[in-house]
Amino acid sequence: MRVRAIIKRIVQQFLRDKRSIALMMVAPLLVMTLLWLVLDLEQYDPAIAVTDVPVQMQDLLEEQDATVEEMSSAEAEEALQDKTVDAHLIWDQDQVKLTLEGSDPTASSAVQQVLNQASKQMNPNTLNMEVNFLHGSTDLNLFDNIGPVLIGFFVFFFVFIIGGVSFLRERTQGTLERILATPLRRWEIVIGYLSGFGIFIILQSIIIATFSIYVLDIYMEGAFWSVLVITFLLAIAALSLATLLSAFAKNEFQMFQFIPVVIVPQVFFSGIFHIESVGWLEAIGKIMPLTYGADALKEIMIRGQELSAVLVDVWVLIGFSLAFILLNILALKQHRKL
């Protein structure tokens, strides 16, 4: 069968190209690990300068892991300027005054949280709340939260680059035209190409998902194979989009020019940032495959949903791929009418 011949050829070619294999299989792991190191850090412990603060309060602050330093107002002001402390707390009879350094929101909110906790314990009569989590837990940090989006993004990104460039090379080195001078049908070429790469895509999806979930220990409530299904669908969408766009690039450099236009914006709309409040922004997100892939991955990994609960995402991703594949077959008409 002719499609099988194409698949076999792509596998042979790809196996000889060690660099691309590394880029597709290892690079995402490397980037995920770096992000994990950065985002999975323990929460920030603020340093607070105190003036005339009662010892009891100071102890409570230290219990919250804050570094407490007693100093005079003048010293504290200097320390704030030098950024050696994040805040200055003054206890002036019943007047409590807090000055925040303020340039780093993470530090500022850490200070406020520490103070909140401490004052709650100073005065236990304030509203005492028991907090429960429907999904996730207190341990759910930033990496766990955006991890599913990152998995989706890196699958999309690396498949897009490798798939797009290799199809582009078929165009520039003339082999695409050459096989159009054979009885191959246009759909056979597209399907053969996607299937040949599909084998490596499945491998890549398994590697990225396994690594993130079992090595980086990203928060995961749902089923592993559901994650695989979504990453695979996302990768097929990326591959078919990349092969399609390669028809509009003259060389590798022009292919890379699609990254800021097509790939990067998808990150903004895929759930890392909250954009629900702006209607038209949300509308843009709706035409991007990553939005659906990331949504499904979040539902599965953080909220523990079944694949059946994200069927809409699944169908939309399949729809994107089918549309791109059809357009691919049509785009080959520029080489051969039939």
């Binding site: 002719r2 099988r4 011949a5 194409i6 076999k8 050829r9 042979q12 070619q13 000889r16 190209d17 080195q173 003339g174 082999t175 035209e177 050459r178 096989i179 159009l180 001078a181 054979t182 009885p183 191959l184 049908r185 080489h335 051969r336 009418k337 039939l338």
Partner: protein, 241 residues
């Protein structure tokens, strides 16, 4: 007898530049037909139109009474592109195996055919090298091997012997003659006069026009010249005066 290949009123424009201007050709079955013309005269363009890789702006191509492009006819055509379109990561054998499968040559016969074509282009000893390590001339020969692989009825070769040494070139022409005797129709583009002389019939192409057609002897005779080269210059002059 209706001809095997017929081009009727072929025109081809890229954007606003017309590169093939009203070409009519009729090539009988079994002929070794040469398209002779200087660089940029439109040989490659015309050849691509014949196999259907380019759509003519105007006109039609018929091969064996069928309109091109036709997938059924693609099976009967062997094409050697001007630039070697091969997979450089793969070995010569793997390249040949790929094309053999595309043309549906049964597994058993593949081995035999690969050996046969490798022998014709003298690459038998280099079949297991990846094409990255092939020289320019070796790649050229590989392209020819691919074109011959499925024993097509029609061979279309775009400057097949560029970069090939005289000894091998002579042997390739011998093989082409042999194929022709077995009934293969062959279209060859060239800008080398001594190769053109080996063709049964020639079309001289210049700036997208066919300025003369006929056998090499006829062309020389009609133009009252001694050599094809002079004849070519002669016809060029008439057209431009």
């Amino acid at each position: 007898m209706s001809s095997f290949i017929s081009l009727n009123g072929i025109q081809k424009s890229f954007k606003d530049e017309t590169v093939i201007k009203n070409v009519d050709l009729a090539i009988p079955r079994g002929q070794l037909f040469g398209l002779l013309g200087p660089s940029g005269s439109g040989k490659t363009t015309l050849v691509k139109i014949i196999i259907g890789l380019l759509n003519p702006t105007k006109g039609t191509v018929h091969i064996d009474n069928q309109t091109m492009p036709s997938l059924k006819l693609m099976q009967e055509i062997g094409y050697m592109a001007q630039s070697d379109a091969l997979y450089s990561e793969l070995t010569a054998k793997e390249n040949l195996q790929f094309f053999a499968s595309i043309y549906g040559i049964p597994k058993k016969k593949q081995k035999q055919r690969i050996q046969e074509v490798a022998k014709i282009v003298d690459l038998t000893d280099h079949l297991d090298k990846t094409l990255e390590h092939y020289s320019g001339g070796m790649k050229r020969r590989m392209s020819l091997a691919v074109a011959l692989l499925h024993q097509p009825k029609l061979l279309i070769l775009d400057e097949p012997t560029v970069g090939i040494d005289p000894v091998l070139r002579a042997s390739i022409w011998q093989d082409l003659k042999k194929l022709q005797q077995q009934g293969t129709t062959i279209i060859v583009t060239t800008h080398v006069m001594d190769e053109a002389e080996k063709c049964d019939n020639l079309a001289m192409l210049r700036d997208g026009y066919v300025i003369a057609q006929g056998s090499p002897e006829q062309l020389i005779e009609k133009s009252n010249t001694e050599t094809l080269e002079e004849a070519f210059l002669h016809y060029g002059k008439i057209t431009y005066e």
